[in-house]
């Protein structure tokens, strides 16, 4: 019932509604938008660094490509990486935390020490080294196996996996804490007295009781993963051209900034779109936390 009450209080919150509306518009625009713009906008054209006009509302970049088109297709990649990366971290973090908390004792403390050690490894190093180590391998493997789609997007796949693998630590701690507090409740003892297997107790009894916490944390993980991906793309280590993401667009814009020719549209539009998405996700996460707070 908690979910139903949470949904009601979420609908009564104008900030949450606005955030959801903005997110919906952004998702639909980045999924559908590129189909409605002329296909020539994706290709290099004669208009280099054209200022915003009716024809190109967001202006064009150095190669004459339309910025609106690039922002929308970059949004596709950023949102995709955010969602998939968060999903990977959700899967790893939840199962790790559940097992650790449910097993208890030495297993638990050993598993949590592993988390502590991983916390102290610099995330950026880990991600960069992973990309470097596995990207080309995966591409070679994919071309040998004949999976064409994987060859072009192997960088993206490695990026999603390594971001997911790096982001699960906090969730594992949260889920473990929840498991510890739930596993001695009577409904768990009853289930185990009825002879249910450990797996069933974990999945059918413990997991449903912590969906609220997990959902809230998930909405806060998505923007974190988006930021990580854009950070890497900004440094030129993430998504590779001609694919773009908000981070690589910002990097392009920042490198084109100079006091002689002010090409503000290269920075302002990608920055505004990304800011809108991140703020909406953060507001939604906060609102969800309030709505699902059991103390209310």
């Amino acid at each position: 019932m908690a979910e139903l009450r949470g949904w009601k209080s979420l609908r009564a919150n104008p900030v949450a509604l606005a955030a959801m509306a903005i997110l919906a518009v952004l998702i639909v625009a980045s999924l559908a938008g590129p189909f409605f713009l002329p296909p020539s906008y994706a290709q290099p054209g004669p208009l280099s660094y054209a200022a915003p006009s009716w024809q190109h509302p967001f202006g064009t970049d150095i190669n004459g490509r339309d910025i609106l088109y690039r922002v929308l297709s970059g949004g596709r990649i950023s949102l995709l990486v955010g969602l998939c990366g968060a999903a990977v971290s959700l899967f790893i973090g939840t199962s790790y935390g559940l097992i650790s908390g449910y097993a208890g004792g030495r297993v638990d403390s050993a598993m949590m020490r592993v988390v502590d050690v991983l916390y102290s490894v610099p995330r950026l190093v880990f991600i960069l080294v992973c990309i470097n180590a596995f990207d080309q391998r995966l591409r070679e493997f994919a071309s040998e196996a004949g999976w064409i789609w994987l060859v072009s997007s192997s960088r993206l796949v490695v990026l999603i996996l390594s971001l997911g693998v790096i982001e699960w630590l906090t969730l594992a701690r949260i889920v473990r804490g929840q498991t510890l507090s739930l596993k001695n409740r009577q409904f768990v003892s009853a289930a185990s007295a009825l002879g249910q297997s450990h797996l069933k107790i974990l999945v059918r009894h413990l997991l449903p009781n912590m969906t609220g916490v997990i959902v809230v944390y998930l909405t806060l993980t998505i923007p974190a993963v988006i930021i990580d991906e854009s950070f890497l793309s900004f440094l030129g280590l993430g998504v590779q051209a001609p694919q773009s993401s908000w981070g690589s667009l910002l990097a392009d814009g920042a490198s084109a900034l100079n006091p002689v020719k002010i090409r503000w549209w290269l920075v302002v539009f990608p920055a505004a779109t990304m800011a809108l998405a991140l703020l909406a996700l953060n507001f939604l996460g906060d609102a969800l936390r309030d709505a699902l707070d059991p103390r209310r």
């Binding site: 490894v121 470097n132 950070f231 900004f234 440094l235 280590l237 814009g253 900034l257 920075v267």
Partner: protein
């Protein structure tokens, strides 16, 4: 501010002081944390240093093997090198032998304090490169650190004292923006507005104090916001306590009540955040250095990965990790001291 000073200030201004001046507190702390008791400061430090060695070992091992897993070597170029020369290069940079031999050899050199030669910047040692670039990164980090703590404290106190009012609203709105938006988004906007449209500060480079303003602000912005939020929360709690009412009843100026009395207690959560803060500033400076063309260690970090410069990467990673662990250790010591004082005072 050192812990002794915090303690001294607190002894003068705080609630329910027993045992007189700060010296008595200091002495008591030393007795309580005598190195031979089970949870003394010395055993704590020893445990932490052992943990540091363990973390460094893990990180070095992981980076070493991961960079070797990837195909291609440091001397790959458009033109294939003659085998004899390549062999000589491999010997010079100690990249010959089996992987295991290379690994143990590298660990041995590290124990001796030799970070080896960079394979990309030929004939320059990793130690040399670090000695040139780290001071820049540390200066930038220090500026941002001071900026984040000072500005964050001021904004947090202002928000808490004007709770519910317009001051609070705008402070928290700023905090939300600065926390949700990454530095590579804030940075270009700052460059555009203050560097280009207004022309107040240079848009890049390093060396003059003006050139440090925008990078330091970009680096510090999210942490200003975080500290302001943290402090606002704890300050609101403290402002409701009896000793604050007493201080106000005595007729002290509001400013004195806020900064002299309430802040001393409310600052504790902020102090525990200083360790992670230092860590975040260190990694955050990679983007800021790239954005503002600052010759710091961050750029070498990124390029060492692209160039497969394993030893340079190893050196940067070791220094970064060691700094992170040391920062956290310092803050933990600081915090146990402060925490102990609070328990003593009741």
């Amino acid at each position: 501010m050192t812990w002794a000073r915090v303690e001294a200030c607190h002894a003068l201004a705080g609630p329910a002081v027993t045992g007189g001046g700060s010296l008595a507190h200091v002495l008591r702390w030393f007795v309580d944390t005598c190195p031979f008791t089970s949870h003394g400061v010395v055993s704590f430090l020893i445990r932490r240093i052992l943990a540091l060695v363990a973390v460094l070992f893990c990180v070095v091992t992981v980076t070493f093997f991961l960079i070797r897993v990837s195909p291609g070597g440091p001397f790959d170029a458009e033109r294939k090198l003659p085998p004899a020369i390549e062999k000589q290069l491999l010997t010079k940079y100690k990249l010959d032998g089996t992987l295991w031999q290379q690994y143990t050899g590298y660990l041995g050199d590290l124990v001796k304090g030799d970070l080896r030669l960079s394979t990309k910047y030929r004939n320059r040692s990793v130690a040399e490169i670090l000695a040139q670039t780290l001071p820049v990164t540390i200066t930038l980090g220090l500026c941002a650190f001071v900026l984040a703590t000072v500005l964050g404290t001021i904004i947090g106190v202002a928000a808490a004292s004007g709770r519910g009012g317009p001051k609070d609203f705008f402070a928290m709105l700023f905090a939300l923006l600065a926390i949700s938006l990454p530095s590579f988004l804030i940075g270009p906007i700052l460059i555009l507005v203050f560097g280009i449209w207004l022309g107040w500060f240079p848009v890049g480079g390093w060396g003059t104090p003006q050139a440090m303003v925008l990078p330091a602000i970009t680096l510090a912005a999210p942490y200003v916001a975080y500290i302001a939020r943290l402090l606002r929360g704890s300050m609101i709690e403290v402002l409701g306590q009896d000793f604050v009412r007493t201080a106000r009843a005595k007729g002290l100026k509001e400013r004195t009540v806020l900064y002299r009395h309430a802040l001393r207690v409310a600052i504790l959560p902020v102090i525990s955040f200083l360790g992670p803060l230092a860590a975040h500033l260190l990694t955050g400076s990679i983007v800021v250095e790239t954005l503002f063309h600052i010759p710091g260690a961050g750029g070498f970090f990124v390029h060492s990965i692209l160039n497969r410069d394993g030893f340079l990467l190893g050196g940067v990673v070791i220094v970064y990790c060691a700094m992170l662990v040391v920062f956290n250790m310092t803050v933990d010591v600081l915090y146990t001291v402060l925490d102990r004082r609070i328990r003593l005072d009741g």
